[in-house]
């Protein structure tokens, strides 16, 4: 098994218009999917991220509010997934609920030392 990082971007534009009932259903689908692609009965490890942060450059001399990217480009969260290979990892990502609202999943293989 190899390890992969999924980066979630976008998909939140449509959220604000969802009703509480729809939000709960959407959340449930995330939870189910994260558990489905996991090898345990718990969701795959990962974290949601705040949309704002700092970008530190030049040895700490240059600190700016970031990320500067557009809303759609901001990483909203990540998870770590085990899969056989990149194709398998891509396959596993296809049921991600982020696609319901036009978000994307970036799938990256971690390099094994």
């Amino acid at each position: 098994m190899k390890q992969f990082l999924y980066l979630f971007r976008g998909g939140d534009e449509g959220y604000a218009e969802q009703s509480p009932e729809e939000m709960q259903a959407h959340m449930a689908r995330w939870g189910e999917w994260m558990t489905k692609i996991s090898n345990t009965d718990q969701p795959v490890p990962g974290l949601p991220l705040h949309e704002s942060g700092k970008v530190v450059a030049d040895g700490g001399n240059l600190i700016t509010d970031g990320p500067f990217t557009e809303g759609k480009e901001i990483v909203g969260g990540y998870v770590l997934v085990e899969a056989n290979d990149l194709d398998h990892a891509v396959e596993l990502s296809k049921e991600c609920p982020i696609f319901e609202f036009g978000g994307t999943v970036e799938v990256r293989e971690a390099i094994k030392m």
Binding site: Y15, A16, S19, P20, E21, M23, G31, T35
Partner: protein, 417 residues
């Protein structure tokens, strides 16, 4: 043990929405209703985006209240409400109210949303939005209205709510019975909105019924509000909802009481209806009791023909005396026909049909058509059915009548006139 995000109980977000909006509105004042709604919506969004990564918080209600409170305070600060800015931080850490306090606050919100100073339409929309946690789109689907219409009505209703500075408090003792009547009326109508129509999304319509029952249940939990009217209404709701599924066929067409599969009635609801009904001592001038008693007789009958129609008709007559509502009178015509025959029923119907409220109501000619058919006057039955078809609005009613006309016209042995 905390659950995963997909193991939360059904409608959890919806009930949390109403709790949190009510809690924030009572703390910050009805002037901030809109900001409270936005804050709770944002809090739920945040829950949705973060809870799936781990198990849900130990205390999800507390999490939502806390998050929404902080968002509302941020919002008020941004609006430079200095008063709040200086006063709020320590309040934000106040302990989460108990379920009892939540219930009390929700009851006060029910009274505010069902204030007689608001039109009944506005009462229903406010109740569904704030207490039901339904979105404008869902309310529109449930009430079979356009989304835009509901959105506009909600904006107006909210404005009145704020302009009149409706306070979240229980009416004082003297005014309480009258105000409670208005509340039960609104809940009754809310329930009927969900129940009466067999078109549209049945799932969301059942939600209306369940919401009305949930709110009525809250009232019953309060000693001052648990009386023979609220209990009778609860009995009625249980009896009706027991037949919810049976009254629509698999292909979405309405099934009349006569043809319903009585096995598929929900007997748990019927039992609960019985239990509430049995607690009522003086039901004779209680509209909900009389309706519930009628529904109870239907629920206990093992078939249409073995139904105790005489008792039903008697109850209908009492109900009509009490309400003087011609629609109730119209509803009593079929029981009358079952007891005294279709000819007598036609005579009774004649007495009613000039009532302005029944003018253009397709049920009048539809009932007449049914009665004429039973006495064998097929020509009249056909012309009344055609009249009913002209008045009917609902697609399925039209289909039903068209089929009926076809059947009448093609009767193999129609008697000569």
């Amino acid at each position: 043990m905390p659950a995963n995000s997909f193991q939360l109980v059904d409608h959890f977000f919806r009930t949390e929405y109403s709790k949190a909006v009510t809690y924030l509105t009572s703390r910050f004042g009805t002037a901030h209703l809109e900001a409270a709604e936005d804050a709770v919506q944002e809090a739920l969004m945040k829950a949705m985006q973060t809870w799936p990564y781990q198990t849900t918080p130990d205390n999800p209600t507390g999490w939502i209240i806390r998050t929404a409170t902080n968002k509302l305070i941020d919002h008020l600060r941004r609006q430079q409400k200095v008063y709040y800015a200086t006063k709020l931080p320590e309040q934000a850490a106040s302990p989460q109210p108990s379920e009892e306090v939540f219930s009390d606050e929700l009851i006060k919100m029910i009274f505010a949303c069902c204030s007689p100073s608001l039109s009944i339409e506005h009462q229903l929309i406010l109740t569904l939005k704030i207490l039901g946690g339904l979105s404008i789109r869902e309310i529109a689907a449930a009430l079979l209205k356009k989304e835009e219409t509901i959105a506009k009505a909600y904006t107006r209703a909210k404005k009145k709510f704020k302009d009149q500075n409706l306070r979240l408090e229980l009416p004082v003792a003297d005014a309480l019975p009258i105000r409670l009547q208005a509340v039960t009326k609104a809940l009754y109508l809310l329930f009927n909105e969900g129940y009466k129509c067999t078109t549209g999304d049945q799932l969301i319509r059942k939600d209306l019924c369940e919401e009305a029952m949930r709110l009525n249940h809250l009232l019953l939990g309060h000693t001052q509000l648990n009386n023979e009217h609220t209990r009778a209404l609860m009995a009625l709701m249980h009896y009706q909802v027991a037949r919810f599924e049976a009254r629509v066929s698999a292909d979405g067409n309405p099934v009349s009481l006569r043809d319903q599969n009585r096995e598929s009635w929900d007997h748990q609801h019927i039992q609960l209806g019985d239990r509430y009904l049995a607690t009522i001592k003086h039901g004779q001038s209680n509209e909900y009791f009389l309706q519930a008693a009628i529904a109870g007789i239907h629920s206990r009958a093992t078939s249409y023909s073995s139904t105790n129609w005489a008792h039903i008709y008697q109850l209908y007559q009492k109900l009509y005396q009490l309400t003087q509502n011609p629609i109730i009178g119209l509803n009593s015509i079929i029981p009358c026909a079952e007891v005294y025959g279709p000819k007598q029923a036609l005579i009774e119907l004649k007495k009613l049909e000039d009532a302005p409220i029944l003018n253009g109501n397709y049920l009048v000619p539809a009932t007449k058509s049914e009665l004429y058919e039973r006495v064998g006057e097929i020509k009249k039955a056909i012309s009344e059915a055609e009249m009913a078809l002209k008045f009917a609005v609902n697609k399925r009613d039209k289909l039903f009548l068209t089929k009926k006309i076809f059947k009448l016209v093609n009767r193999p042995t129609s008697k000569p006139m």
